[in-house]
């Protein structure tokens, strides 16, 4: 799905069709039909355990790490069925980057963290040192981390503050030029200042990447996203432009949740 992706003129970055998912015998997603627009930020809200992470993780197919997960239905990323038998998992994960709830930089240097994906997906000859330096600088500048870490690129990624770690985790996705960034509560481990900084960063990445962000924070969803999806018990209840959903929710359950009646 490398180059042909560019030829598909779909407005939607992610489309799912009757997506259902089971953990063993427990069904976590029920016939999820979603069309997520390209180049905007879509937030995913809903009470704890409603399947937000599960949905997100199936778009990157990282759910398959667990041997007991079964998925039915269809997921298309830029018009390509990512569960098609001839699809390469590695390519799916190149196109669809994932940011986790708890910052999880690898226990290697900051520089190597940024180059990790780049190295894995690089098929040609080993890039020169200058090439790598440029990639590292670009990625770290994009996430507004360059100035803080440019003198200690050889330090471990795990030695940074949580906010910096989360930025690093975003930075390391960029060198392979993904189209979709999935973020599962990326700010929940951060303090208010860190949250603000990372939110601002996510807002800046808008347009260049399609971003789906899970959040428990209504204010964040409202501030930081253009469309909003509300899920409940493994089903999609509502998918609207954020402003509409928060002002005039169509479903009673959505209204209840937004007003804090689910907790």
């Amino acid at each position: 799905m490398d180059s042909p992706a560019a030829t598909v003129t779909s407005d939607f970055a992610i489309q799912t069709d009757k997506l259902s998912l089971w953990y063993g015998s427990f069904q976590a997603l029920f016939d999820v039909d979603l069309q997520i627009k390209q180049g905007i930020i879509t937030s995913l809200i809903g009470p704890s355990g409603c399947g937000k992470s599960t949905f997100l993780r199936s778009i990157n197919r990282i759910n398959e790490r667990l041997g007991y997960v079964r998925t039915t239905g269809r997921i298309e990323v830029l018009g390509h069925d990512i569960y098609a038998p001839d699809v390469e998992l590695v390519q799916v994960r190149k196109q669809v980057g994932m940011v986790f709830q708890r910052p999880n930089p690898l226990p290697i240097s900051i520089r190597d963290n940024v180059l990790f994906g780049y190295g894995i997906h690089n098929k040609g000859p080993k890039p020169s040192k200058e090439d790598q330096d440029r990639v590292v600088e670009d990625a770290l500048k994009t996430v507004l981390l360059w100035d803080q870490v440019k003198d200690r690129l050889r330090h471990k990624g795990t030695s940074l503050s949580l906010e910096e770690q989360q930025k690093l985790c975003i930075a390391r996705l960029l060198p392979v030029k993904p189209t979709v960034l999935l973020m599962d509560e990326p700010c929940s481990a951060l303090d208010p200042k860190g949250t603000e900084a990372v939110e601002e960063l996510i807002w800046q990445l808008r347009g260049e990447y399609t971003i789906v962000i899970v959040t428990h924070n209504m204010a964040q969803a409202r501030r930081a996203s253009e469309e909003c999806i509300f899920m409940l018990l493994g089903e999609v209840i509502e998918h609207e432009p954020t402003e509409d959903m928060f002002v005039t929710p169509k479903q009673q359950q959505t209204a209840d949740y937004i007003e804090g009646r689910y907790g």
């Binding site: 990282i62 790490r65 390519q91 994960r93 690898l106 226990p107 997906h121 996705l173 392979v176």
Partner: protein, 315 residues
Amino acid sequence: MRNGGDKPGGPKAGPGANWDRLGASWFIDKGVQVLVFVGGTSAIIFVVGIFVFITREGWPFIRDTLDFAEFFGSPRWNPTSDHNPTYGALALIVGTASVTGLAMLIAIPFSLGAAIYIAEFAQGRTREVLKVLVEMLAAIPSVVWGFIGLTVMNPLIIDMFNVPVGLTVLNSGLILGLMAAPIMTTIAEDALKAVPDGYREAAEAMGATKLQVVFKVVLPAAKNGLVAAVLLGVGRGFGETMAVLMASGHSVNLPTSVFDSVRALTATIAAELGETAHGSDHYRVLFTLGIFLFIVTFIINLLADIFVRGVRKKG
């Protein structure tokens, strides 16, 4: 600590029975505490005690007779000679080092490979069966290994390589390697298991294959623990006695190839100590060998410990 013995009469049982039972549990509690304390401190006391004992037995020799240049530089080990005893331990040190070295050459790839397979690739039943097998291998007594070296490997080596003797560096190195591998596998596997799963998940989510995850993420992250596993294996090889005594040929010799017989430090002590007169120079030089062994293994274990701790400090 629960101190129920003071309170007469529990809520449910009759007062008399309750007195007795609470009293017993209180004593058991106390008793176990004392036992655990004694167990914990006795380990330290034993180690120190052993060191003091072997030092006391060896010290007069080190002080009066020992010539360091001879001890570490001469291969002539002849402590039983009546008029001109020599105490060159070089051949014994080289013997031990060569056997241990070969053993590690065999055991390191073996055990690291096994640990990686068990920790990262094997699933469910396969993993359980393999772990039990490794533990069973670790439980084989060393005299059995020595016996295998003597009766199986010996003729095999003679046949295969067309050499006159099969009790050699090769034989004892192989045996020792097989002996050390299970322990090293277990420790290395623990080190791999200690790598947080989040690292693997992060790398896989970026598109890393299983092999890339292992080599680029898990192994570097577990590096210190793996080094510790190897060091403990080396320590095990250094200190092993019976199997080496049986499989090495036990002849004082500076080996020039793996087909030479050698004699190990430990084997020398085990074989000769019984024949010496208590307090004689020969008796004391054997204790000097013991002190040397003790110090070397102590350093190896200390290094291993430092490496294991290093994991936690650097995060």
